[in-house]
Symmetry: C3
Subunit: 298 residues, 3 copies
């Protein structure tokens, strides 16, 4: 039954119907954030890279579903004795009902999924994908914007290295027929041309957020992925927002950020009514509850 | 409702009535150490400094109350990507019902509390305060000494840098009208004059424990806070006790220590009937159960 | 009642009747892997050395028994402030109902057990013993081989430094009357003569697995314990197996390994029907459930 295991490796792991169902269940959990669907289940967290939000919100989601977690402490595991990724995965499979994995190597999730019969959830693979983040972003967007209307989004910052942007853009492009992407970045941090050409919806490149801010319905800021960039000069040239700029946006526009943030999103924006990034984090719990349900019972 | 959130930032976060109530509930939990008042609740542990007793006893308290914990692994969190303390707090707020925080910066708990709507419990802020330790110390004292009688305490060691001493002395000074403090330390490790002058009860400075040991009802030893002291010479000059000294104390005298200990409290004292430091640790669980109840339902 | 505390320090902590009972209960948990015998109980994990399988399978066992764990993060505990092992144990005793301890110092478990009234379970003491691994190995062997028939085992690799081998050989030697041990290792990694002379059953030394592989009922591979060996040359000379070699074994022969593995056990063996090492890991959960039951209620 290997082929029926419900892995979440990328946005392509879902059909549009899957996504609709997950969003609907997340909305249910937003209203009823306590269940016991994971009673007696053990979810393994295997994080080879630092994480605050993804790790903690998955822990929170497991607890709110009545389950338990085992958190492999990488620095204090057999990885230190040279154990391979496959052996770690196949070991944790013996103890757990599903695995949540973050790893610095782009594309390694397929390797993980191929060696186990329990669901693998990609919690970020290098500069590859971050599908659960994309789903919580979509869920947040749908809380504020009618799914049937045309929408414009400005996605700003380190588009090249941000796995969050890759997954989000692919997801929005699939779900929506009337989307417009404004890709605002330093030229060295732009998305690959091939990636952009594969999209169905309209894409516009740019390097000035201020020139589009009054037009868009969603502003999606991201930090520079310092840990993935060699050139020091670029690090200081991120696309930034200010509260004054934000006030030029429409009153229905929402401001999002996957966090952590650096100087591209100053604290002065936190109290602006358009800022939804803390709500976005909380939505991560509801979406991940729905995703755990999907993997184990979907 | 921000102002109604029940933070525990310092001893001053409580009225005397609050303290009486918490001590009373701790006594209840000492007899019935299992409840489900935290069922469905998630408590976040955020420790920026090492901890054994405070961290583990809070975990124990949460489990004994039927709740779950999320332990942010600082070394493996977005703190490594430069995330600010406020952002970490406001993130954890999305996933938790209360936060337990230890941080090396004195006074930073107000910053933490100001940015969140869920209760913040100070688990130690540098050389500032450690209110939950002070409460468990008070609870332990009241197990052995009638609250209505005059009491003498010798507090020994690194009084300047010990947050535990700061919080404990303030607490005892408030609760008791007939207390005498014997502050026994190397001159460079004495309490600030201004701190001592602010106390209501009698204070006596000294540098010899042996000269007061037969008079006092409580001996409270502390280690040198090496991590907060530059001068190597002082580190070797802590106030020490021996079992022979301890036997000069009254039979009703109790010996306490917040731990960890170094050479100021030799293992030979462990079997002396006056030694209550392991019981003191266990009391930490009951007091912290009562504190969690106070924060969330008090 | 100190003497009645049920510690698991070595294989000698058990009578043969104890072992029979534990194996029987493990078999019960293999069929019914969910219980609530640890409801309201807190088990402390204190790992001073890296661990994946032992740590995670004990966590899994505690969860499957309905209990909670407190995992002392050594690197972030008072061990960093110079706290002694005894103080750490006696502290954790205040918060927990049993302690699972791994430590680099051979023989230190007696020190741990002597200072506490709650059960101590040895999860590996340097190159000393690893009794819970030996029991899960025995359990796995008994799944495949009738306990009343004579058996031959080839134990290969770093026999000198492997605590797993020490505990396993002692256990098998006690339980079985008709066992034959083929001890296959580099001469510098052989078992101590005194250890081998203490065994009741037949022992044969060797350095070639291929010469005995067709005779034995169990092949038990181990990695070189690099962290315990100075001589670099030896590290490259481990006894290795290949799938071709494995196919020379009888069809009833089983291949085991305590993991982690290095090059002595190539992945090509994973799909051979004789390979039982992942099943062996899973058995660790059932055996550890039975061991927790034995310690707390046995």
């Amino acid at each position: 039954m290997l082929s029926e295991t419900k892995h979440i490796l990328s946005i392509n792991s879902f059909t549009n119907e899957n996504i609709e169902g997950i969003i609907s269940r997340a909305d249910h959990y937003r209203l009823c954030p306590q269940t016991d669907i994971l009673k007696g289940k053990i979810i393994g967290n295997i994080f080879f890279e630092p994480s605050t939000r993804t790790h903690c919100s998955f822990q929170c989601a497991v607890h709110r579903c009545g389950g338990s977690t085992i958190d492999l402490q990488i620095e204090y595991s057999s990885t230190r004795k040279g154990e391979s990724l496959e052996d770690t995965i196949q070991t944790m499979e013996q103890y757990c009902d599903a695995l949540i994995i973050r790893h610095p190597t782009k594309g390694c999730m397929k390797v993980c999924a191929d060696c186990t019969n329990i669901p693998v959830i990609n919690a970020g693979d290098g500069c590859g994908e971050h599908p659960t983040q994309a789903l919580l972003d979509l869920f947040t967007i749908q809380q504020y914007h009618n799914i049937n209307l045309p929408l414009k989004i400005a996605i700003c910052g380190d588009l090249r290295n941000s796995r969050t942007c890759h997954s989000l853009i692919q997801l929005l492009d699939r779900i929506y027929d009337q989307f417009e992407f404004y890709l605002i970045s330093h030229e060295n941090l732009a998305l690959d041309d091939s990636f952009v050409r594969s999209l169905r919806n309209k894409c516009v490149y740019g390097s000035e957020l201020s020139s589009v801010i009054s037009m868009v319905d969603i502003i999606y800021m991201t930090r520079i992925q310092k840990e993935r960039i060699q050139d020091e000069c670029i690090i200081d040239k991120n696309i930034c927002i200010t509260n004054d700029m934000l006030n030029m946006a429409k009153s229905t526009t929402i401001l999002m950020h996957p966090f952590p943030r650096n100087n591209e999103l100053p604290k002065e924006c936190d109290t602006n009514f358009r800022s939804k990034y803390f709500e976005q984090m909380k939505n991560g719990v509801y979406v991940r509850m729905a995703l755990l349900e999907y993997c184990l019972y979907g």
